[in-house]
């Protein structure tokens, strides 16, 4: 089965998380979360396996970060920061993030793979995959429109669906 093959190859990227999901319940078969610098490698794996790209999109998790219970030491980050290395670790889970979701699908059998990655909301940058899948070009442009996510190496990140003078990103929360 192609899912096992993808799983094996993705495991070599040491993904943040990988989950086999039930198609009937979720609509996809494999859910892989990689670090932002691994998206090109992940796309290359999907490309070699013969998958086509269905969509690229984003999710702004600002509200999730707000809803999460504050860490006990969180108030201290407003004041002076102790030089200890532990502070950065503790602040990380509540720092708002954005997610970029890549949907891959294959025509020859039933296997839909979701590759996702999280990037910091205040500096949303990750490499483009349009050199692997030229079809990603438009999807990334759209994601840039809606979320302001910067795809480094993308040749033309100008407003696409939005007006050409648009200076806002409508799908950002809050």
């Amino acid at each position: 089965m192609i899912r096992d093959k993808i799983k094996k190859e993705m495991a070599a990227l040491s993904p943040v998380a990988m989950l086999e999901t039930e198609h009937a319940a979720k609509g996809y078969d494999l859910d892989v979360r990689v670090s932002p610098d691994q998206v090109v490698a992940a796309a290359e794996i999907m490309d070699r396996a013969g998958f086509f790209i269905e969509a690229v999109t984003g999710v702004d998790w600002l509200l999730e970060a707000k809803a999460a219970p504050p860490k006990p030491k969180a108030p201290s980050e407003a004041g002076e920061q102790p030089e200890g290395g532990g502070a950065a670790e503790e602040a990380a889970p509540t720092a708002p993030e954005m997610e970029v979701v890549y949907d891959f699908n294959i025509a020859s059998e039933l296997c839909r793979v979701v590759v996702r990655t999280r990037i910091p909301r205040d500096n949303p940058e990750l490499p483009t995959i349009q050199q692997v899948y030229p079809g990603a070009n438009w999807h990334e442009r759209e994601t840039h429109d809606f979320f302001g996510i910067k795809f480094v190496g993308h040749p033309n990140l100008t407003p696409f669906l939005l007006p050409e003078d648009a200076d806002f990103h409508p799908l950002l929360k809050g």
């Binding site: 609509g27 999710v59 025509a107 030229p134 809606f146």
Partner: protein
């Protein structure tokens, strides 16, 4: 004068096709860089019909978003209804009564035929033949009347509900659809005689606008565009939903990859849809058309869900991210024409502008669906 022409032969110029052009079927603009009549570069410019449906989805309840589904692809609105309700039902775990499932399939297939008929007429109009449009609209009008009585609207349908459909069919529906199926079967051979075997059409379409299977994969094209390039991918078969697994139908595939192949795929699909409708009518069970326990206020559990359906133009996908409240946290709408059009820039390179029109039309674009 001759000297002047020769000195300019290396130069190119920019021509805007649209945003108001009869062959763009909506407000699509294509920036063409031309060398004489040959296309050096074609760049579609989108956004003229952009309404930000995805944002609208985030600030209204699940049910309130239903009417939006009929306003993206206005020619196959029921498929969009279907994709959205299936996604929400998957997330919320709502069972749909069998009668409702069959009614959904029958109406979606009727809608698919009406969409293909409109494409058929409009495409031939693009290519310079006026008469086929009148034949196609005659047939389509009968379909719209049938769908009007059951859904309550002619175009922007909002017929499906979470857990079923909005109302049951009346006693005239089944005989009317049977009559339509019988009539369409006599009309299709006439279409082929009038149009498909026409030498002018063959010369305009055969070998024009080749799209390879590899290109289909790299750009994520689906629907008749993929099936015209030898890629046998149909969501109804590959990722079955609703009652499609119980229906016997074929997926027409042509491997030539030219505009003629895409034309033939759609014409064959009309016949396959008729087969599906017939089986649906024969097997339509009695019973309720709404799940009795469908909740009034929907709060699907947290999580993210994906549902794809086969719309008339390809795979329409809904990615629903729920945070457990009565409004979607994120609603991604993956529209097929968006990906199908994205390959136009590469495919149109080096083509004559008149042939590019034939290619553009064979992609069967609905711009409000691309722009969303």
């Amino acid at each position: 004068m001759r000297q002047l022409i020769e000195s300019q032969s290396d130069e190119t110029f920019i021509l805007n096709l649209g945003p108001q052009h009869p062959s763009t079927h909506g407000v699509l603009r294509v920036k063409l860089q031309l060398d004489g009549e040959y296309i050096v570069e074609a760049e579609p410019v989108l956004g003229y019909c952009h309404r930000m449906h995805e944002k609208m989805g985030e600030n209204r309840t699940f049910a309130q978003f239903m009417p939006n589904c009929g306003r993206m692809d206005y020619l196959s609105a029921l498929a969009y209804n279907h994709g959205y309700v299936c996604a929400v039902e998957k997330a919320a775990g709502i069972e749909v009564p069998e009668r409702a499932e069959w009614l959904r399939v029958i109406t979606v297939e009727l809608n698919r035929i009406s969409s293909h008929l409109l494409w058929f007429g409009a495409y031939l109009l693009d290519l310079g033949g006026f008469t086929p449009l009148l034949y196609a609209f005659d047939d389509r009008e009968r379909l719209l009347d049938i769908l009007d009585t059951v859904t309550g609207s002619r175009l922007t349908y909002c017929y499906f509900r979470f857990g079923g459909v909005y109302n049951d069919i009346d006693e005239n529906f089944v005989p009317a659809v049977r009559e339509f199926v019988a009539r369409m079967r006599t009309r299709l051979p006439m279409y082929h005689k009038l149009v498909t075997k026409n030498i002018i059409l063959m010369k305009r379409l055969e070998g024009i606008g080749p799209v390879s299977a590899e290109m289909v994969r790299k750009y994520g094209a689906t629907g008749p565009v993929a099936r015209g390039s030898g890629v046998s991918y149909d969501v109804r078969k590959n990722e079955p939903y609703s009652v499609y697994p119980e229906v016997d139908f074929d997926v027409p595939v042509y491997s030539e990859g030219d505009s003629m192949a895409r034309y033939k795929v759609r014409m064959d699909e009309i016949e396959q849809s008729l087969r599906i409708i017939e089986q649906g009518l024969n097997r339509l069970p009695e019973g309720p058309v709404m799940a009795p326990k469908a909740p009034k206020i929907l709060k699907p559990p947290k999580g993210d869900f994906y549902q794809a359906v086969e719309a008339a133009r390809g795979s329409f996908g809904v990615r629903l991210v729920s945070d457990g409240t009565n409004t979607p946290y994120r609603l991604k709408l993956r529209s097929p024409s968006y990906s199908n059009l994205s390959l136009f820039g590469e495919a149109a390179q080096g083509m004559l502008i008149a042939d590019a029109i034939a290619l553009l039309g064979s992609l069967d674009l609905v711009i409000p669906e691309i722009d969303r």
